[in-house]
């Protein structure tokens, strides 16, 4: 995915940055969207049906799902600042919850998206924030005239 394109349409340059939701970014948005959908729908189901069993885990699942929704929208709409925050929250979340879920399994009786570093989702939740941050950095880099990231 490091190659840009071959003879493809060049993204239009606005404010010296490239849109986060075009070209290869669209794939990133798609994967984020799938994860957002999976995490949010699943958390909704867990909360509706089994909230009493693991309130902390399910609430966390829902928060994680909503952060993914936010990241998806932000990347798609080129809201850079929001995207930076959302993706960073995910990275911190997956690392923190991943570590806690292994260290103190009793606190997480049922799986969340972030348990075991996203094990239940093929570690996509662990990899995605890194890709997201790299993409934000890459698309926002060129041109010294574009110091203002107007989100």
């Amino acid at each position: 995915m490091t190659q840009d394109d071959g003879g493809a349409v060049r993204p239009t340059v606005t404010r010296g940055t490239r849109p986060t939701g075009a070209g290869a970014g669209r794939v990133l948005v798609a994967v984020y969207g799938v994860l957002a959908l999976a995490a949010t729908v699943r958390a909704g189901y867990q909360i509706v049906r089994h909230f009493d069993e693991a309130p902390v885990a399910y609430t966390l699942s829902l928060v994680a799902g909503l952060v993914y929704v936010l990241a998806t929208v932000a990347l798609a709409r080129d809201w850079r600042r929001v995207a930076w925050v959302a993706v960073t929250v995910e990275l911190v979340g997956v690392l923190t919850v991943g570590t806690l879920s292994l260290a103190d399994a009793a606190a997480f009786p049922d799986a969340t998206v972030w348990s075991g570093y996203g094990q239940g989702y093929g570690y996509v939740p662990l990899v995605l924030p890194f890709v997201g941050l790299w993409w934000l950095w890459r698309t926002g880099r060129p041109s010294p005239a574009a110091a203002d990231d107007l989100g």
Binding site: D5, A22, G23, A24, V27, A30, V31, R42, G44, R49
Partner: protein
């Protein structure tokens, strides 16, 4: 169950087709979207059958869980198709591939949860 297997098989074909286009550095073409429409059509039939079974048989499956999957998988391909129009590069093919794999995976989960559909 046969419907779910049919969807998985169709998704595999669609995904393989999209993967081929990724390798060839081509954007999604209209014919692939017709393929996606066929998959979507089977999904709709499956949703109707699932609804009918849910009403008539009262199967031992949680309705919220089942419809969560049925509704989720229905929205994925249309979004990928809309993007195929917006993104005229090979990346639309990657998106279609991801979409096909996702639908196939959801079908697989659906089979695990409820073998009857």
């Amino acid at each position: 169950m046969p419907l779910a297997l049919l969807v998985v098989a169709l998704c595999a074909v669609l995904g393989g087709w999209a993967a081929w286009f990724v390798v060839r550095d081509r954007a999604v073409v209209l014919r692939q979207l017709w393929g996606a429409a066929v998959v979507e059509g089977v999904l709709v039939v499956q949703a109707v059958v699932a609804g009918w079974l849910a009403v008539s048989d009262a199967p031992p499956v949680d309705g919220v869980l089942l419809w969560g999957y049925v509704a989720t998988q229905a929205v994925i391909l249309p979004v990928a198709a809309a993007w195929a129009f917006a993104e005229r590069t090979r990346w639309s093919s990657v998106v279609l591939l991801v979409a096909a794999l996702t639908v196939a995976f959801l079908e697989y989960r659906l089979l695990q949860i409820w073998g009857a559909v």
